[in-house]
Symmetry: C2
Amino acid sequence: MLVPVIISGGAGTRLWPISRESDPKPFMCLPDGESIIGKTFNRAAELASVQNIIAVTNQNYFFHTREEFDSINKAGAKLDFVLEPFGKNTAPAIAAAAFRVSEQFGEDAVMLVLPADHLIPEQDVFQGAVNGAVELAEKGMLVTFGIEPTQPETGFGYIEKGSSISDSGFQVSRFVEKPDLVKAQEYFESGKFVWNSGMFCFKAAVFLKALEKTSPDLFRQISSCWSHTAKDNLPLVLDAESLKRVDGDSIDYAVMEKADNVAVISASFDWNDIGSWTALSDVYEQDFEGNAVDGDVIVIESSNCLIDSKTRLTAVVGVNDIVVVNDEDATMVVHKDKVQDVKKVVETLKKQKRPEFSEKKTTRRPWGSYTNLIETDGFKVKKIVVFPGQSLSLQKHMHRSEHWTIVAGVAQVVNGDNTFELKVDQSTYIEKEAVHRLTNIGGSELQLIEVQCGDYLGEDDIIRLEDIYGRS
Amino acid sequence: MLVPVIISGGAGTRLWPISRESDPKPFMCLPDGESIIGKTFNRAAELASVQNIIAVTNQNYFFHTREEFDSINKAGAKLDFVLEPFGKNTAPAIAAAAFRVSEQFGEDAVMLVLPADHLIPEQDVFQGAVNGAVELAEKGMLVTFGIEPTQPETGFGYIEKGSSISDSGFQVSRFVEKPDLVKAQEYFESGKFVWNSGMFCFKAAVFLKALEKTSPDLFRQISSCWSHTAKDNLPLVLDAESLKRVDGDSIDYAVMEKADNVAVISASFDWNDIGSWTALSDVYEQDFEGNAVDGDVIVIESSNCLIDSKTRLTAVVGVNDIVVVNDEDATMVVHKDKVQDVKKVVETLKKQKRPEFSEKKTTRRPWGSYTNLIETDGFKVKKIVVFPGQSLSLQKHMHRSEHWTIVAGVAQVVNGDNTFELKVDQSTYIEKEAVHRLTNIGGSELQLIEVQCGDYLGEDDIIRLEDIYGRS
């Protein structure tokens, strides 16, 4: 039995404006229509001996992650979640997953740790590397995946291979931090170094034992957090109070660089950790001038550009080596040599306390999503989408009234003392302070236009009386 | 008496996406909040001896032009319009204006012809040049304004000055077409050449007499058109049937290059005909790195860029000499050396029959405007703005129903057999095929959100039963 553990981490600020804190990199939809986390799920689900997949992610991403997995889970892999109220880096996250695997599948079950935001197009080569890793993991080793370098990259850490211990497995001589270009060139030419990919394979108990030995404090802290975590209510959410007292640390620092039973698999598949807009270029179709384009785009006398504009028309004229990305509420133009500096835009927005640093125009909710079409003094217009069978909380607002017009699907509406059905082209008026609820009782998406009127239109003007998602 | 005649011409395709056929260059709002045509109006109205201003423009621009003029007409200049059902170049347009001036103010009244889309910031220098022109016009001359060149420009025609005939006036040796760079350099260094600005000054009768002599066919055609044009209903609209038979020609070709009583005023004011996005840079505030910015913009490590983004957030990172322009529905990125090629985008859009080549997201109407917030199969959402006292036509639709919610102002609504008032936070439902009308009866803008539902949502699904703007 092999249990993939998909871990979702940071916000991917270098991929702003598409990636934001509320809707980060793993959820980005690639030109082929699949999300990055969806591709990772498929990659895991299609491996031999996989029936169960565990995702470790922030509590806020639970519904979105489950939605992504459910929509592509053809093989019917069983999903399980370990949710974090807040992040503590990879070591605690993987330890929690190891506890879960151990309790569910036995301490000898082999875990395959996969970051959610990697691209590996060649499934067969990936399967081969995993086979090699599982073989060593079964022997009690902590296995890391090293990628054979294709260039002297300064953006990754490296691992120096030691003696060969299997077909593709080596002992680890040492881990090295991101090098400068001279060092990177040296590593590249030596043939002895591989990129540190952040993917791992080991038995649950082997990892926990290693953690206890290499980072005893951290082991004690996360063990305590795990024992305080309620296991009855799914999805499982790590106990916040005790998680607060857990040291944040990476698996490399906490375990891999200190343990003595570490091996590295030398893998030669195409591997992309999508660290920047230029790293993403590879997944776009390119024209004869090297322009990678997705969306509604007109390119005139330009070359080697990346243009992503799914929600509006973009024209580029006479430019080279430029990245243009349009999201629903923002445009970013950056030279390809400066894509690392996109994070400075996010820092600026954060300093200015602007919502665009973390929020998108379309906000996801457990029941669906809403998009602000227009917002100004006195009124706001939203498009609201509710998934089949889902229901917003029973709620009321103290400062606004709402006009609902159904434009797709069938709703059941609670409006004050009345409960009734609303179909396309029908509307209702929710008075200020009236208790109301919206439920999709049809088999397809419910869509409505909501016109809000009032002196205050903030999202925090809501009193939730009942909620099927535990938010009341 | 001096009568400025403001003429509006082409679509300004080099300034896409802000300038479009339905809302062209003269209406562009500059960073100081004024439109280009508004600035032209002010320039004319502030001249000495001006009480009347005539605008010659396409019929479709009448309401918008009047709105622009009314909003800034502090001095209370009297407005008059000569509207063209379609354009026939400058000679017929100016001839029609000359007939109008002659009939209204006598044949010796002096006309000052000003294209709507020029910028001349120095009013006092402009007034001085106009004084010089009027002096010669009073003597029966056809006066053109030549701008003293500040560089060897290849984008303008030139005029060679002959003998001096007044303080700033010269006879004209010859008109020359746009030169190549070698010729332009020669003209520039000689000191004998000025740029042909397209501004003119003459008595109405002097111009008409010259036209009769230099282009007798055109004179006969436009005279016939004028005599067939109804003078009773204002605004005056040139008779379409007879205008069709008028030869299209420019005033330079038809008159100025052939007449013998032509003079040129040598003018040294700053003059900008806004031929491209780079020409517009001058009117933006610039930062220390030479970036000209208007709107919601973040600039990081970039220089010499022009960024116009009034309706959304734009971030630029690490780029130089790039123009980025965002309109409500489109983004354009062009290198400063290629701004002339922006027209190729418009040509491409036209070939693809896309609305963005001519229409903006906000569509102007005589009664106000509407903006499409979202449009998809089965429904469309619009924000509608109605000016005080204005009224949409009494109308009905065969394929759609409409839900109206008032979000600002006060409306009088006709809905089937009922007429009633609607205030903010009130709504009404217009059934398919129901006769309806919307009127702003308040003192401020009426704003409403319209949700349309139906199987066909085109603007042409409208039967107008009554219309105060003559469109029924």
